[in-house]
Amino acid sequence: MLLSTLNLNHFLLLSLWLLLCGFLCIFRKRNAIGMLIGVELILNAANLNLIACSYFIPSFRLEGQIFTLLVIVLAAGEAATALAIILAFYQSHGTVDVDQGTELKG
C-alpha cells in the first residue's frame, strides 16, 4: 500500500501523543503495574516512530523494522522482570503501592 496523502508528521505527532500519555501515566499511578503500563505506552510510541521513519526515510527502511523488533523483544523481557519484581514486592509487603517501598531510603 502506498500512502499518498499522509506524511511523517502525522505519525510523529501520534507518537508524541503516546509518549506524553505514557509519561503522564507513570507519574499519576501509584500502582506498580499501572506504571508498567505507562512504560509500555512509551515503548509503543518509540516503535511507532521507528516504523514510520522506516517507511518514509528510504535509507532507514530495514533498520527501523529491526530496531522495532529488538525493542519488542526487550520490552517482553522488561515486562517479565518488572512483573517478577512486583510479585516479589507483593509477597513481602502485601501491596503493590510503590510509595510503600521505602526501606532503601537513605
Partner: protein
C-alpha cells in the same frame, strides 16, 4: 479524503483517546484492556506502514504475551480492583507541568528538524537521492517476500543490501568513523546474540524472583519488621 488518510484517522483517533483514558482511569484491569486496544491499533498502523512482520510480532509478543502476563500479575496482586491509590495534588500538578514542558520541547525540536519541516521525504532529499527514493517507493509499494527474508538474514550478518549513504536529516559533517576495516557483510548478529543472552538471563532472573518462597526465613519476617 483518500482511503489511507481515512484509515489512519480511523485508527489513530481511538488510539489517542484510549491512551488518554489509560492515564486517567483508576481501574487497573480496565487500563490494561485499553492498553490492549492501543497496542492492536498500533499493530494496524504498522500494517498501514508496510511493516507486516513487525505488526504480526507486535500482536504475538505484546498482545499474546506481555499483556496476558500483565493481567495475570494484576489478578495475582489485586485483591480489590476498586482499591484506588490517589496521588497528592503536588504530584498531580508537577506531572502535568512536566509533560507540558516535554511536549513543548519535543514539538519545537520536531518543528525545527529538517525531516519534518520539509513536509515529508521528497523535499528533504537532495536531487540525486530523490530518484533513489522513488525506486525505494516502488519497492515498498509491492509487499515483497524479500523484505522479511532481509530482516531475517540481516540478523545473521548475511545482508549486503544495507544502504551506505548517510541518513537524511543528519547534519552534513556527521560521518561514521571510516577507520574501521571495511566490511561487505554488515548485519545485526551482535545485537541478536546479545538479546538471546539477555533473554536467558531474564528467564532465570524472573523465575528466581517470582518463585513462591516457602522457606522459614521469609515466613518469620512480618511486615512490621521490614518497615524498619
Amino acid at each position: 479524503m483518500e482511503l489511507d488518510e481515512t484509515l489512519f484517522y480511523l485508527i489513530a483517533i481511538p488510539i489517542a483517546v484510549l491512551a488518554l483514558i489509560i492515564v486517567f482511569t483508576t481501574h487497573i484491569v480496565r487500563a490494561a484492556i485499553w492498553l490492549l486496544f492501543t497496542l492492536i491499533g498500533t499493530a494496524f498502523l504498522y500494517f498501514l506502514l508496510d511493516a507486516a512482520f513487525v505488526a504480526a510480532s507486535q500482536l504475538m509478543i505484546y498482545v499474546g504475551g506481555i499483556l496476558v502476563l500483565l493481567i495475570f500479575a494484576i489478578m495475582l496482586t489485586n485483591q480489590n480492583p476498586l482499591n484506588r491509590l490517589p496521588i497528592s495534588k503536588l504530584d498531580r500538578g508537577f506531572s502535568i507541568l512536566f509533560v507540558l514542558f516535554l511536549g513543548l520541547g519535543i514539538s519545537v525540536a520536531l518543528y525545527n528538524s529538517p525531516v519534518i519541516s520539509g513536509n515529508g521525504q521528497n523535499k528533504t532529499n537532495t536531487d540525486s537521492s530523490s530518484k533513489k527514493s522513488e525506486d525505494q517507493d516502488e519497492k515498498n509499494s509491492s509487499l515483497s517476500n524479500d523484505q522479511i527474508s532481509e530482516i531475517g538474514t540481516s540478523f545473521f550478518d548475511l545482508n549486503s543490501k544495507i544502504p551506505s549513504q548517510p541518513m537524511p536529516g543528519f547534519p552534513e559533517g556527521f560521518k561514521v568513523n571510516r577507520k574501521l576495516p571495511p566490511r561487505t557483510n554488515q548485519g545485526y548478529l551482535l545485537p541478536f546474540e546479545l538479546i538471546s543472552i539477555h533473554l536467558l538471563v531474564i528467564l532465570i532472573g524472573a523465575a528466581y524472583l517470582a518463585r513462591a518462597k516457602y522457606n522459614k526465613n521469609t515466613e518469620n519476617v512480618s511486615p512490621s519488621d521490614t518497615m524498619e
